[in-house]
Amino acid sequence: MRRLNKEILYEIKALYRDDFRVTGYRFGKGEKSVCILGSLRGNEFQQIYVCSQIIRKLLELEKKGRIREGKEILVIPCGNPYSVNTKKRFWTVDNTDINRMFPGYSLGETTQRIAAGIFEKVKDYKYGIQFASFYMPGNFVPQVRMMKTGAENVALAKQFGLPYVVLHKPRPFDTATLNYNWQVWETNAFSIYTTSTSAVDKASAKQALDAVLNFLSKQDIIQYQGYEGYISRVVEGKDFVDVRAEHAGFLEQYAAAGEKVEKGQKLAEIRAPYTAGLLQVISAPVSGTVAFVHNEAMAYQNTAVYKLIPEADEI
């Protein structure tokens, strides 16, 4: 059996813990074609899982000689094992977010150094794919998200064959994310959201695996014929319709991520936490598809418990 081309990309010596390591897996040799990154945060289990599926498949394809000559693929399942192992979303000591530290600074603080160490290894690739997560816990319809930096390539994003390509305007803090900096350094960067984050969702992980293989095949990086996927619909993030909880309380969801809903359809109920009295029936204000659903038992007031992608004629 062929040995995995495993490499330590960045390392920090620790005092009492095992050393902090960012490990990458390389496939093929030659032009830096695509870099795929999984988790940067401690709760991104699905993101690691998807990468593990990609690594397994690429190993199989490499064995069959199906990685194109002169193309190199790098997969980094996790950029932050310390936080994953202690179940903390951000950096263990100071709670900083590695994905707010790019392009990093090799002489700076710890997470700036980690970001710099990772960025040094990922910045020269033609394509960059990151499995990302949202700060609010919830489930997504699988989508490719791109920031509108002027360098985004929508036609390429559609080649993943995921149901949606979502474009959004960068906010101030986005300028320190990997995706943004990849684009600044002229990598075609894509953030992929599968359905879940801290729970493994095998169906959407499979969809993400297919999407990545589909994309690599279309860029002639691998030789592969698989599931073609969807003809992606391109949506602007600003056109998403937020459906909010007017009251705080128990949240009972009736529609799942990816489900088509009609205007007026019941999406959820909010009930009083002590008496079970009905506080609000949350209905769809437009017909469309559920892009995001908040998946916690209790909702805070004003929480966007659903985000809908309206039918094209409603935008």
């Binding site: 005092l15 100071d94 709670n95 150094r113 004003n302």
Partner: protein, 349 residues
């Protein structure tokens, strides 16, 4: 004995008289505690952001605002930074001691992030968000965005706002004001009168555009960011120093007619290019033992502290000053990772 008794009588009379005067003015000063933003929480509680307002009775808020006689003191955006708690208390206490000298509005907001203060947490617990990256907020957004927007709305009309931070739980700082280079022209002359030891003008950064102070300055309200002391602790001497500075600024703005102490002249660092400061980052993970206090002058090669390994009893690194200067930041929290900041030195002071 008789003479002493007589003196006592006189001083007691004086005391009673001054108490009477104080009572008279206090009765003519309005003290209001109001909720400026609130939201419902899931179980039997509301999240409320409170404002403590002091102003002379009978005054018109709009009129005082038009005259530039309203100041805001804000703290607790980071829940584990408590230095501002003392300043808020002391400011209110001193104003009430001399209520006759108040001729404007003083708005005190001691807890912008009550969840954070309650949970000893820098960010907003439950959401793991840094509140100082949420501004200007959004009235139609989620709970935190809504609160941020409502807070900002309440600042409208202020002549000056001071946002008091305490570095973080890791670092101790000399009292200082930090100014974004974009707002230097407007803010530097004000900051110089705030009785701090250092005014640090730093380069602009897109990430900082989501801070409370940036949003205020952007909207036309002058806002100064104060950093002093250390997280989770109160340094009363710094609190008193800054409170003196606030009174001095209040006098400038026509909010206070009482006597104010003379303010110190701060060191000004025009560090827009980021070349004025040596950053001392740990080269190794370990336990940092400081040997110099913040505020010390240090010479090139002088030892600031050591990083040790208790598992083996050895020194892993000697942290030395890379050049002469003023150690205005020192690490308080002993555990360091490779890269952790252990100190900052202002060059050539």
């Amino acid at each position: 004995m008789a003479a002493q008794f007589e003196n006592f009588e006189i001083s007691e009379k004086k005391r009673q008289r001054s108490l009477k005067i104080l009572k008279y003015w206090r009765e003519r000063m309005i003290e209001q505690i109001e909720t400026i933003a609130e939201t419902e929480l899931p179980v039997d509680e509301r999240l409320k952001i409170s404002r403590y307002r002091l102003m002379p009775d009978g005054s018109n808020v709009e009129e005082l605002e038009r005259q530039g006689r309203r100041i805001g003191i804000v703290t607790g955006i980071h829940g584990d930074e408590l230095e501002g708690q003392y300043v808020c208390y002391e400011l209110g206490r001193r104003i009430k001691e001399e209520a006759s000298a108040l001729c404007g509005i003083v708005d005190i907001y001691p807890a912008m992030n009550p969840f954070g203060i309650d949970n000893i947490t820098r960010g907003i617990p439950a959401f793991d968000l840094d509140m100082n990256r949420l501004f200007p907020g959004n009235r139609n957004g989620d709970m935190n965005e809504y609160i941020a927007a409502e807070i900002l709305k309440d600042m409208k009309g202020m002549a000056l706002c001071m946002d008091i931070h305490a570095s973080n739980i890791f670092l101790t700082e000399v009292p200082q004001i930090r100014i974004n280079e974009l707002h230097k022209e407007r803010l530097l002359p004000i900051a110089e009168k705030a009785n701090v030891d250092l005014v640090w003008v730093h380069g602009a950064s897109t990430v900082l555009e989501a801070t409370f102070a940036y949003s205020l300055n952007d909207s036309g309200v002058d806002a100064l960011v104060v950093e002093m002391g250390v997280g989770m602790r109160i340094t009363k001497s710094y609190g008193n120093q800054l409170t003196d500075g606030i009174f001095s600024l209040m006098k400038e703005l026509g909010i206070w007619s009482g006597k104010v102490p003379e303010v110190r002249k701060p060191v000004i660092s025009n560090d827009e290019k980021g070349e004025d400061v040596y950053y001392l980052n740990a080269r190794t993970s370990g336990i940092f033992l400081k040997e110099k206090e913040h505020g010390s002058m240090v010479a090139k090669g002088e030892r600031i502290g050591i990083i040790v390994n208790p598992l083996g009893g050895e020194i892993l690194e000697e942290v030395e000053a890379p050049g002469d200067g003023w150690l205005f930041t020192i690490r308080e929290y002993p555990v360091v990772d490779e890269g952790s900041l252990v100190g900052r030195i202002l060059k050539g002071v």
